[in-house]
């Protein structure tokens, strides 16, 4: 019964969105984490999503030409990437973390963007919960068949 699959699909969606929420939380928490060198400064992190296919489709690269009689099996987080955006170097000679030239490096986290990201992720999470709930109602109804 393909209704069982909905639990996996919506579950994978919830999982992916919670990873996204996690990276957002990490980004916002570290929005003001300064450093005295470029290498050590925190960079904004983003989760990368990809569609999950079943094994047969995976073997053929999940392409259009795979025997895709199924539409996919949910979403997968393939990794977390760091943003390449430029760090903010601020001239703060009195700062305890300032380097010899008096600069401190601030992360490339855009707090406004992260807040929008957070809201989008939580809405998507909610939607997946709704999907799972509806699937549950449908399954429970099937169990009453013939009663």
């Amino acid at each position: 019964m393909s209704l069982d699959r909905i639990f996996d699909i919506a579950g994978s969606g919830m999982n992916a969105q919670s990873v996204r929420l996690n990276t957002t939380a990490s980004n916002i928490a570290n929005a003001d984490t300064v450093s005295s060198s470029i290498d050590q400064t925190y960079r904004a992190r983003q989760a990368v999503f990809a569609t999950m296919f079943n094994e047969q489709q995976q073997a053929l690269g999940g392409s259009l030409f795979a025997p895709d009689d199924q539409a996919g099996q949910g979403v997968n987080v393939v990794g977390v990437v760091e943003s390449d955006a430029e760090l903010q170097a601020r001239y703060e000679p009195d700062h305890p973390m300032a380097n010899e030239e008096g600069y401190v490096y601030y992360p490339n986290v855009n707090v406004v963007e992260e807040m929008a990201n957070m809201m989008a992720a939580s809405r998507a999470y909610q939607t997946n919960v709704e999907i799972m709930n509806t699937a549950k109602t449908m399954l429970q109804r099937v169990l009453t068949l013939g009663q």
Binding site: F49, V75, A124
Partner: protein, 134 residues
């Protein structure tokens, strides 16, 4: 007299299976609402019905005009009725999922599922009444 469930239950059994299948396709669309380059898909009732009636499960037919032509049926084998959606507002990351529309379709499909279920259930109830005979 042997009792055939297939004949007793009619189309409702398959209708219920179709609704369950479509629910998982739509759930997959919604789960992938933020996946770059994901293309939303849907099951088309009319073409599934047609495929069931004609007994032909393949939606794409290729004619081989030469003996050396490859058999493509195994390559391009979309299940009958599984189609890609045309988005009304395509997004820049190549994703064609419109969550609100998908959610509306999912809910509609769940109601249709209930309807099919009610029909199927009443078939069973009819059979039970016939068996009890009171």
């Amino acid at each position: 007299m042997s009792l055939s469930f297939d004949r007793a239950l009619g189309v409702h059994e398959q209708a219920l299976a179709f609704r369950a299948e479509r629910a998982s396709v739509l759930a997959n669309n919604i789960a992938n609402a933020d996946t770059p380059n994901f293309k939303a898909r849907d099951l088309d009732f009319a073409s599934v019905l047609e495929a069931q009636q004609s007994g032909d499960q393949r939606s794409v037919q290729m004619t081989r005009t030469h003996a050396n032509h490859l058999q493509v049926e195994s390559l391009i084998d979309q299940a009958a009725g599984l189609r890609y959606r045309t988005p009304s507002q395509p997004s820049i990351d190549g994703n064609t999922v419109e969550v609100q529309a998908e959610q509306a379709r999912y809910t509609e499909n769940a109601v249709d599922f209930q309807a099919s279920f009610t029909f199927l259930n009443s078939k069973f109830k009819g059979l039970m009444t016939a068996l009890r005979g009171d």
